[in-house]
């Protein structure tokens, strides 16, 4: 399927050269490229996953039936369509494990997002208010961790958080504690890992929103009798809201499906949907159920985003 779509492009290309019409086609072609990308690398794989989620497990290669194919002709294809079932989705509602994993993932992602926001906002604000000459350096420092592999950075946290790790050694040395704190293999470690890993994704959109803001607005609020703290909530925060929303989405969405951080830093009892997915797929070799888990996860993430975007578009229209 991907192959046939890709071959559309050379067909359309010659139209570009033929005058005004060619220009219109050319414009459309430019738009087609990202759509094609999304179609080939997002929609098609999603449809495949969706189809698998409607299949049944089998000890076979691939480990599910029916497998679509044209070797039995069109009637065979239609017959195999009849074998699709919603059983896997019903199974998800049967076992509380999945429900708990979703809830736990949402909770962990939401709490991490709030912590990241609380940590990221002062950083972004400080950067936006720093002298212009200093800003590129600060921006660089925010991006710097990406120079090292994500996996290695998460592993490094094990060395810091483990009972005989750097943090505990330091705290015992300062006399703050007598016996090591148990942080590794708890939810606290997951929060630390997520907040650390996703902080740049929060800081960057916040910075870009705050940097655009005219600081004289805050001065104007103060001039009109608004103390600084109140001016922050009435002026700065509402104007940074687009950055807050963008940053929160950039943190919440990947944190929700996070697998590496709970696997490395969280305990065995940690329930997150990413880990459940992994277990179903690799340990149980139950592709249909894990596909159903993935589809539900996607819906959980996409539906609120769509609702949000609709609300935003409506408020924009009202504003004009």
């Amino acid at each position: 399927m991907a192959q046939s779509m890709a071959s559309d492009r050379p067909d359309a290309a010659p139209a570009v050269s033929s005058g005004g019409l060619g220009k219109a086609v050319g414009n459309r072609l430019v738009i087609i490229v990202p759509y094609l990308w999304l179609f080939v690398f997002f929609l098609v794989p999603f449809l495949i996953v969706f189809k698998i989620s409607l299949s049944t497990t089998a000890i076979a290669m691939p480990p599910y039936v029916p497998v679509f194919g044209l070797e039995d002709g069109l009637s065979g294809l239609i017959a195999s369509l009849g074998e699709l079932t919603l059983d896997n989705y019903l199974w998800l509602t049967d076992d509380a494990l999945y429900f708990n994993a979703y809830i736990s993932s949402i909770t962990i992602a939401a709490v991490s997002t709030l912590i990241t926001l609380a940590v990221g906002f002062p950083i972004a604000y400080g950067m936006a208010r720093a002298p212009t000459s200093l800003r590129p350096t600060l921006l660089m420092l925010v991006i710097l961790p990406f120079w090292t592999s994500f996996l290695i950075r998460v592993y490094a946290w094990i060395g810091i958080l483990k009972p005989e790790g750097l943090l505990n050694q330091f705290l015992i040395w300062t006399g703050a504690i007598d016996s090591p704190l148990l942080i590794l293999n708890t939810n606290t470690a997951i929060y630390i890992g997520i907040v650390y890993s996703y902080l740049p994704f929060m800081v960057l959109p916040l910075y870009s929103a705050l940097e655009k803001m005219d600081y004289s607005l805050v001065e104007a609020a103060q001039d009109l009798g608004c103390p600084p703290a109140s001016a922050f909530w009435k002026i700065t925060f509402p104007l940074a809201l687009p950055g807050v929303v963008a940053g929160s989405m950039l943190v919440f969405i990947p944190a929700m499906g996070e697998f590496v951080i709970p696997d490395l830093l969280g305990g065995s009892q940690t329930l997150m949907i990413g880990k459940t997915l992994w277990n179903e797929f690799f340990n149980n070799r139950d592709w249909p159920v894990s596909s159903a888990v993935a589809v539900i996860l996607l819906l959980l993430l996409v539906v609120p985003i769509m609702l949000f975007q609709q609300a935003q578009a409506r408020s924009l229209e009202k504003g004009r």
């Binding site: 104007a220 103060q222 009109l224």
Partner: protein, 380 residues
């Protein structure tokens, strides 16, 4: 010299020794690192005055305004407002409001909400806020735009919202930072008069910062000319124009001819100056302090007469030259006359007749002349 007081109205508390200043800058110095923005400046502003701080960019005028609003603290010196020392009082507790150069309208609030913002901070009852907002909207003629957001307004409308918002709280003093800077010329002229009316009707004290001399001349009761953080002169527009205190002020406001020379003799109030070109300048009403030394005679172009014919023998202050350049502006003609020593004198003549018999053109021989009281003698 005849009186050069306020032309607009008989309002001149600064001339009354018994009047108490409303705002006093006392020996204010403000440094930013190595840069001295304001240097040991003292200035008094009176209640209900429309006061302009005029100067080129970087002269310290905005810093002065921001210190009054509380956004900057003076490095030394103190500011008194109505007898109260403002040191340490944060901007949100000062009884002054500021209209920002960028207007600083809150983009996420409607016109109404912008105007109500300061009133809400004061905890004014809702009904009263609504009443005041309606009154302000009427004042700036924006009743139909109450629910619009700032980005849906034109530049002129935004300026009026900013104005309404800053006067809504009835501050003791309204500070205006380049209030008309962002408007086009025509709108600026209209708004100047509206601002003056508003100030009269509300009876507020206005302190306006501007780099536009015309704006300052039109609106202000008094103007302070600033340069490099120091006050050059504080006076009414007429005094600033007709009796500048220094070469800098004379050159800064309007066009001026500075004829450098040396005092030859003094007889009562009459001064004889030997100009650099050798010509003798007779000056009446010279200030008492000048009796010798190097001076400059400053004279405005419109006070110089240009004629193709030599004035009668014995007429004082006549110099011969040739027309070096001229510009016909419709209502007036500007002549640049090159004198014998090479100095170019600017003169302007009102074209009161449609056809003049004294047509002068490039390279014509011409005589410039002026009355003995048409200019001022400057020592600084």
């Amino acid at each position: 010299m005849k009186s050069l007081g306020s032309i607009r109205r008989s309002f001149a508390p600064w001339a009354d020794p018994a009047a108490k200043p409303y705002i006093s800058f006392e020996n204010i110095t403000k440094r930013f690192g190595d840069f001295t923005a304001v240097n040991n400046l003292s200035l008094d502003i009176y209640e209900r005055e429309f006061f302009a701080l005029l100067g080129a960019s970087g002269c310290g005028k905005s810093t002065l305004l921001r210190m009054l609003a509380g956004f900057e603290e003076p490095t030394s010196g103190r500011i008194l407002l109505d007898g109260q020392d403002l040191r340490g009082i944060p901007p949100y507790r000062r009884p002054v409001n500021m209209m920002f150069q960028s207007y600083a309208l809150f983009p996420h609030m409607s016109v109404e909400q912008n105007i109500a913002f300061g009133l809400k901070q004061d905890g004014m009852p809702k009904a009263q806020i609504a009443e005041r907002v309606a009154e302000m909207l009427k004042l700036v003629k924006l009743e139909q735009f109450a629910r619009r957001k700032p980005h849906q307004l034109s530049g002129g409308q935004r300026q009026r919202v900013a104005l309404a918002r800053s006067v809504a709280k009835r501050p003791k003093v309204l500070l205006l930072d380049e209030p008309l800077g962002a408007l086009d010329k025509k709108l600026r002229e209209e708004t100047q008069f509206e601002l003056m009316d508003l100030q009269q009707n509300l009876g507020l004290t206005f302190v306006v910062v501007t780099h536009d001399q015309e704006e300052a001349m039109t609106m202000a009761d008094r103007i302070a000319i600033l340069d490099k953080g120091e006050v050059m002169q504080v006076a009414t527009p007429a005094e600033i124009y007709e009796a500048p205190a220094s070469r800098f002020v004379a050159g800064f406001v309007g066009t001026v001819n500075l004829l450098e020379g040396r005092v030859m003799s003094r007889d009562g109030a009459t001064l004889r100056i030997k100009g650099a070109s050798g010509a003798e300048i007779l000056v009446e009403n010279a200030p008492d302090s000048v009796s010798s030394g190097e001076v400059a005679f400053a004279i405005r172009p419109e006070k110089i007469k240009v004629s193709p014919r030599q004035p009668a023998e014995g007429t004082p202050n006549v110099m011969a030259g040739e027309i070096f350049d001229l510009a016909y502006l419709g209502d007036m003609t500007v002549y640049h006359v090159r004198l014998a020593d090479g100095q170019v004198v600017k003169a302007s003549a009102l074209n009161s007749a449609r056809v003049s018999e004294d047509q002068l053109t490039w390279n014509d021989r011409a005589f410039v002349s002026f009355a003995p009281d048409a200019g001022v003698v400057l020592t600084r």
